[in-house]
Amino acid sequence: MNKAMANPRDAYGETLAEIGDKYPNIVVLDADLSKSTKTILFAKKYPQRFFEMGIAEANMISTAAGLASTGKIAFASTFAVFATGRVYDQIRMDVAYSQANVKVFATHGGISVGKDGASHQMIEDIALMRVLPNMTVITPSDAPQTKRLVELMAQTPGPMYARVGRANAPIIYTKEDLASLQLGKGLVPREGDDVTIIACGTMVDQALDAYTRLKDKGITARIVDMHTIKPLDTALILDCVKHTNAILTAEEHSIIGGLGSAVSEVLAEHASSIPFYRIGVRDMFCESGEPEELLDKYELSAPHIVTAAQHLLKH
């Protein structure tokens, strides 16, 4: 079965260029990666409103905050490793603490970055951004959703972090599916009664694959696309506790501090004893390789989700 593919990075750059007239206050900054993050699409259309900051990410983030202080909606982009870990203090002080209207939009998140290796495979960014007060954390799962989320980011004031991967992603949603998309409200692309798989970003596609494989084994899964990790859709999680028998989380991120942690915090505070497991990178740095090879080796791919679901349901 061939799925239609599109790149969320393209969707990001195209959307910025598309909404540039509607939001004349949008400015975009990049740190010598505009061809990869696709902010170049905005730069070509609005050269005056695009600021090339060179390989100097700390300066880029604080400059974005300065621009935002005058009423601009400042999108700042680079790879997820440089957009978070490298500039943590700048985001903490100038964006989160200052409640600046800065949208840090990162690409190349997760291990499916592939051959560049662990130096470029960001698996801690969600944890780093999630812990910051005032920060909204967003992980679009396909190109159409990325487009809608970029629009929502532009129209919603406040500090935000978003991350997409490097690779093309199968198209999951139609325009109609996304018509009522809201930040902080998870989507449920598949319904099921046995197990819930709460996934984010690139892992939503793996979860959908797992859905089909589980169905073949007579297990129905509810798939949740938790595109906003903060604020987290607690009501939806509790609904999953009520209506299914186990919960799995799936993220291209460390199992520490990301989506899985966020969901487990909700479960623990609500004294839920539902069987629960986190699919993610298990507290290690990965390595160079093809994206599919890496997702298999580090046990993130659909077959691993299936095994984990079966295991949970035997409890």
């Binding site: 100097a56 604080s62 400059t63 974005a64 202080s69 005058t70 400042a74 203090d89 700048q90």
Partner: protein
């Protein structure tokens, strides 16, 4: 000339008043940074009480000049000035660093009228100022942006990222001021991490450099005017200053970088400042 001297005398008196506030605030707070607060007084008085176009009644006026205190530990100086200008009541100064009160240990832009940027982690302010200056150019605004840097602060790599960017974008609506007091917590700046030749460094990054006596308000005002007229390059004014200026036993004394005066020191400092005020008032 006589008229000019009159307004400079007035500004010098304001500087003494600001210093008096600083000592009072730090004594009551029982913590804070006297040295770097006192060394920056004249520069900030020249900016706020003479040079900048600001409107305390409308702190968010989109056309206002901006001042960014990158060396956030000099917060008492900024707070005292903002209070004297009417951004908030001077009573607030008595509760610096106290729980349930507005004035935080370091500046916060979300809570305190007139504060442009949240600072306290060193090295960010110049980048922030660049952003404000870029927006000014984009929106064809005539406002100017001033960023006060500590000399020790320029150990931070981000300062030099920002220095390169301001020069690259020819931000002549931006003016940095460097509080060159030669002292940072661990000692003399040249022993901790050599900065000299600081003038050549900034020149090499493409900046217009002006050097003044940082405690001579007349010199500072002249430099600010020169900076405003200088085109196609950002300007940095190197303020040669004395850490702890205005309180004899705090001057050039690194022990007063981050320690508040005790009761005896407080009384001595207030006495000295009162004497300075009387001497200024008595002067022709």
């Amino acid at each position: 000339m006589a008229k000019q001297q009159a307004f400079l005398k007035e500004l010098d008196l304001i500087a003494v008043k600001i210093r008096t506030h600083i000592i009072e605030m730090l004594y009551r707070a029982k913590s804070g940074h006297p040295g770097g607060s006192l060394s920056a007084v004249e520069a900030m008085v020249a900016l706020y009480f003479h040079h900048m176009h600001i409107n305390p009644k409308n702190p968010k006026d989109p056309d206002r000049d901006r001042f960014i205190l990158s060396k956030g530990h000099a917060a008492p100086t900024l707070y005292a000035i903002l209070a004297e200008l009417g951004y908030f009541h001077t009573d607030e100064l008595l509760y610096l660093r106290q729980i349930n009160h507005m004035l935080q240990g370091h500046p916060v832009c979300t809570h305190i009228p007139g504060v442009e940027a949240s600072t306290g982690s060193l090295g960010h302010g110049l980048s922030f100022g660049n952003g404000v200056a870029l927006a000014g150019n984009l929106d064809k605004k005539t406002y100017r942006v001033y960023v006060l840097l500590g000399d020790g602060e320029t150990d931070e790599g981000q300062i030099w990222e920002a220095a390169a960017a301001a020069s690259h974008y020819k931000l002549d609506n931006l003016c940095a001021l460097l509080d060159r007091n030669y002292l940072q917590i661990d000692g003399n700046t040249e022993d901790v991490m050599k900065l000299e030749s600081i003038r050549r460094r900034w020149e090499a990054f493409g900046w217009n450099v002006i050097e003044v006596n940082g405690h001579n308000i007349g010199e500072i005002i002249d430099a600010l005017l020169l900076a405003s007229d200088h085109k196609h390059q950002p300007t940095i004014i190197i303020l040669n200053t004395v850490k702890g200026k205005g309180v004899s036993f705090m001057e050039n004394n690194i022990d007063f970088h981050g320690v508040a005066p005790n009761e005896m020191e407080y009384k001595l400092a207030m006495k000295e400042l009162a004497e300075q005020q009387r001497a200024l008032e008595a002067a022709e």
